[in-house]
Amino acid sequence: MSVVIRLIHIIGSSWLTMVMAGLFGCLTIASNIGLMAASAYLISRAALHPSIMELSVAIVGVRFFGISRAVFRYLERYVSHDATFRLLGTVRVWFYTKLEGLAPARLLEWRSGELFSAIVGDVETLKEFYLRVLAPPFIAILVVIGTCLFLATFNLLFVYVLLGGVVLLGILLPIIVSIVQKSIAEELVAGRTQMKAQLVDSITGIVELAAFGQTRRQAQRIAELEERVAGLQGRVVNMTGMVDAFGLLIVNGTVWLVLWFAIPLVHSGQLEGIYLAVVALTVQSGFEAVLPLPLAVHYWSESMAAARRLFAIVDRTPAVLNKTEGIMASADATIKVEGLSFRYHEQGTEVLRDISFTLTSGHSLAIVGPSGAGKSTLLYLLLRFWDYDQGSIWLGGHELKSYHSQKLRNMFSVVSQQSHMFNASIRDNILLAKPDASDIEFQQVLESAELSEWMKTLPQGCNTMVGQNGYALSGGQRQRIAIARALLRNAPILILDEPTVGLDALTEEAIMGTIEKLMEGRTTILITHRLTGLQNMDDILVLEAGVLVEQGSQRELLAREGLFYQLWHLQHDVV
């Protein structure tokens, strides 16, 4: 239940629009009830052949309701779409604000784009909670109350019958459905997942399927799975079909039951005959408000699941508390690491074990090793994405923890393997590093990053949009933009995190050339598993499984014939 309360909390200022949308929804249905009741009254009344004057009110009523329904429907649509957009905005701002506090440490755990998309999807699902879970009961309750008050003027019996139908259709039926469906749902989800996996495998594994002569077998497997899933689905449909059938029977049955009770009342004169048709049609059209309720149950479980997943994310504690005081900067960029050990989780294995090294201000250091050696972790600790608890890191003679968090990060420039590009212009992507950079500064940076020539070939120059995550850029261009960012930022310490991964040899060489310019006068740390261009580094650390196994210049390391030598050999054994 606390999930619901938290969700309602998030709505904030959007509640008014939502209530408006709900009210217009009520009025739309009420108009229809009005139309049917007034029509029934008009006809019944006319059957008694009164003067036309006596019918005029009814005629006006019929015409009024005929028009008002359409108008209210229009307003409802408009306002509810307004509410949708508002809610989405509100939920997104809420989620982003929470996440911002957790970034980047907690974010690094979900690197894959799919996970990000799933989260974006969950945020979107939340809007259904407000529009399709909260709104329908609200509308149903108001409409049913109104209808009951109207029916009560004739006879309380009708009210009881209507309420009985409403409870059956709007509450009991959905509950029964959700209970029964749950039993099949799990099996169905499992079947569908398997089916999807098999279909994906048929495409992505086509080489193996064809090479091992398995294509026919695969098609057969899928046909079998499909039959199984269809069988399960058939059981679900059988049930939902039955539910729909019962739903219709409840609506019709309620009308029938109202007649049952009304007939003797008319005969005994307790109910005027002209109202018989009115009562019957009012009851029938009142159910319009109750029909969406079963669907609300479906959205309920869906949005609760999404909410739980999102809350699980935002409820995590930040890996590092944002420190807004402390040392602002240090002129000396000497980095000293002493006896540093680290594990991500308390029960987890040590990712770094007793690492010690010194990088003097203005010098360069490379960290190499097989994947999983702990290179990136070391970098995250330097940037204070995580806090270490064993050993220490000193920057310019001060412990890292004594710095102001953001000011500390301002001392670093990072060029990483897949620098994120925002879906904005090239200019904006570069200016991210320094929004108030002058035009001259900007041009200089373009020149140094060797972007200006390419930029001239673009019709829109530096205003060219780079597309979602820079898909319109080649790997080399992307890295050059990242280099331009780093240049503009002009921080004393430069961190290069596999800056040439995924580039072809020629581009790699060119990019490394540009990077050398960037390194001038800066304390540099290069993380790489490509062992090229290391001859100019002052010092190289070789990590393996979190342990510093070798250290020295390239010449020294090759002479030693240890792990570095093996790695180097393997990489140069390529045709």
Partner: protein
């Protein structure tokens, strides 16, 4: 929206389809009957002053009709779903058959995401099309017709009102359908642009944080949401107007019918029973038409999916001149001869092999060397019979490969690809791809030979661990070892090995090297080589350049001739 090609699919399920149409018709008739009896009863009680006993038989019939209607609703849903399920299965099988015939060469060059999408989501979209949209479409035609047939003899004015407004509904519906589609599209675009931005910011949060720009994004998200909202609502405001008109047509004509028959009643031109019956029928007349609107999207999605599905189904199947009927019993030794083999991709547009001839003797290891695009993988694809040579022949122990039964040949080729695909299945079943009938003991034996047993045992469920997309993640080296285990299990006389371009972990590499060495014993081996150490060891090196063999022979010999190969080797040594 009524896609002819989709209707074709119904052909095989005619019975169910006619049953559906019949049920829809029956449902319409029942709705009319229900209105009639309701009117009869109310008329009887209200005007004829009948008591309970007087109307009890009508009440019983009315209740029976109501139950029957519900049964029809249930039957329609069940029948429609079962028809849709059959059709979905048919179409999936057709697509798969089509793709498998087109083969890996075609598929590898497509965007796999798109193919997967058609196969999974695309076909799934046909479910609401066949199960919801089509049945509703028939109801929307039959029910109004039934109602009109009943109304005409009763009251001409009402019939005219219905008749005049009826065409307005489909007209507006198509109009709204179009604008609604436009609105949906626009709204969807807006929403997806918003969520794309949101995704963008989330994915770039690390960068924003490093640059100290993350806080201000809160404002940006808020502002973008509001701007988009205002813009989209401006568009929607107009689009909703057409929906307003549709709603007006339906409600106002009900109101018109009510008023006109009310006046007729007043002047005794009609009796109450008929009048009330007509009033009840008017909404029934419009209901199916309006319900069609709610399934409109299913219709659109279905026909959109059909486009993509039939695009795949109508692809021209590559000519395949395999007449392979000859069986090839299991060979102890395999020798392979390429005789002036030509092959070009894209119907001869892109030549890949231009007259390649070479021979592999039993037990020999041949290394293919050459840059990308030199024709190495084309040779592998030809040997795996993914396609047949355009010109020239490949002989297996003297028999033309084109004449050999495909399964017979493939069972004798063990293939270890560069980056093996792992299927969403258990580790054991992934290895069993090499030989489906293998026992677990045999699988374990193969895994031990491939140096994979130890890491498999450390997985959560050992040999039963699910791997592949969505399963337990394995490293590249581990996947490779499973592929080698497949080859051991298959125990084929010919081994086709596509070497990894970059092995970066010396430990992993050592295990794989050792396993491969064992695997290569006493087999004829063709390696697409990327590593010098492998090439040195080969009995024969075949150097390819732009689809032709430039030189062939053992390492020492080739170094002496000082051709392309020696240049390649020297270039790398130079760097060392």
């Amino acid at each position: 929206m009524v896609d002819k090609r989709l209707m074709e699919q119904i052909k095989h399920h005619r019975q169910q389809f006619f049953l559906l149409v019949g049920l829809g018709f029956g449902g319409g008739v029942l709705a009319v009957l229900q209105a009639d009896f309701l009117a009869k009863i109310i008329n009887g009680v209200f005007l004829a002053r009948l008591d309970w006993a007087g109307v009890s038989s009508w009440m019983a019939i009315l209740f029976a009709i109501m139950i029957l209607r519900s049964v029809f609703v249930w039957l329609i849903e069940v029948t429609a779903h079962s028809m849709a399920a059959y059709i979905k299965k048919d179409i999936r099988q057709q697509i798969l058959a089509s793709l498998f015939t087109l083969g890996p060469i075609y598929i590898r060059r497509q965007q796999t995401g798109e193919l997967v999408n058609v196969l999974v989501e695309g076909v799934e979209n046909l479910e609401p099309y066949f199960a919801k949209f089509l049945p509703q479409l028939f109801t929307a035609v039959t029910v109004p017709l039934i109602v009109l047939t009943v109304v005409f003899p009763l009251d001409f004015t009402t019939a005219i009102i219905l008749l005049v407004t009826a065409p307005l509904i489909p007209i507006f519906m198509t109009f709204i359908g179009r604008t609604a589609e436009e609105v949906n599209k626009r709204q969807w675009e807006t929403l997806s642009r918003l969520s794309a931005h949101f995704l963008d910011v989330l994915q770039g949060l690390t960068v924003l944080k490093i640059f100290g720009r993350s806080i201000e994004q809160i404002q940006v998200i808020h502002r973008m949401s509001s701007e988009f909202r205002d813009k989209t609502l401006g568009v929607l405001k107009i689009a909703f107007l057409s929906a307003l008109v549709l709603e007006l047509v339906a409600t106002i004509s009900t109101a018109l019918v009510a008023v006109s028959i009310g006046l007729k009643l007043l002047y005794s031109q009609i009796d109450f029973h008929q009048a009330f019956f007509l009033l009840l029928l008017a909404p029934e007349f419009y209901l199916p038409l309006r319900q069609l609107g709610t399934h409109f999207h299913a219709g659109m999605a279905g026909s959109a999916a059909a486009e993509r599905i039939f695009a795949i189904l109508s692809l021209p199947k590559t000519r395949d001149n395999r007449s392979g009927e000859m069986s090839l019993p299991r060979q102890q030794q395999v020798n392979i001869t390429f005789e002036n083999v030509h092959y070009a991709y894209d119907d001869g547009e892109r030549p890949a092999l231009k007259g390649v001839s070479f021979t592999m003797r039993p037990g020999e290891t041949v290394a293919l060397v050459g840059g990308s695009g030199s024709g190495k993988s084309t040779i592998a694809s030809l040997l795996l019979a993914f396609m047949s040579p355009d010109k020239g022949n490949i002989f297996i122990n003297g028999i033309n490969l084109a004449h050999i039964k495909l399964e017979d040949w493939l069972s004798q080729v063990a293939f270890v690809p560069q980056s093996p695909h792992l299927f969403y299945n258990s580790v054991a079943d992934n290895i069993r791809l090499g030989r489906e009938s293998a026992t677990l003991a045999e699988v374990i034996e193969a895994a031990k030979n491939a140096g994979a047993h130890d890491f498999i045992m450390s997985l959560p469920d050992a040999y039963d661990t699910l791997v592949g997309e969505g399963g337990h993640g394995l490293s590249g080296g581990q996947g490779k070892r499973l592929a080698i285990a497949r080859a051991f299990l298959q125990d084929a006389p010919f081994l086709l090995l596509d070497e990894a371009t970059a092995g970066l972990d010396p430990q992993n590499e050592a295990v794989i090297d050792e396993a491969l060495h064992r695997l290569m014993q006493e087999r004829t081996v063709l390696i697409i080589a990327h590593r010098l150490t492998t090439v040195y060891k080969a009995n024969c090196i075949v150097v390819l350049h732009e689809g032709k063999i430039t030189e062939a022979g053992p390492h020492d010999e080739l170094m002496k001739t000082q051709g392309l190969y020696s240049q390649l080797v020297l270039a790398f040594r130079g760097e060392k």
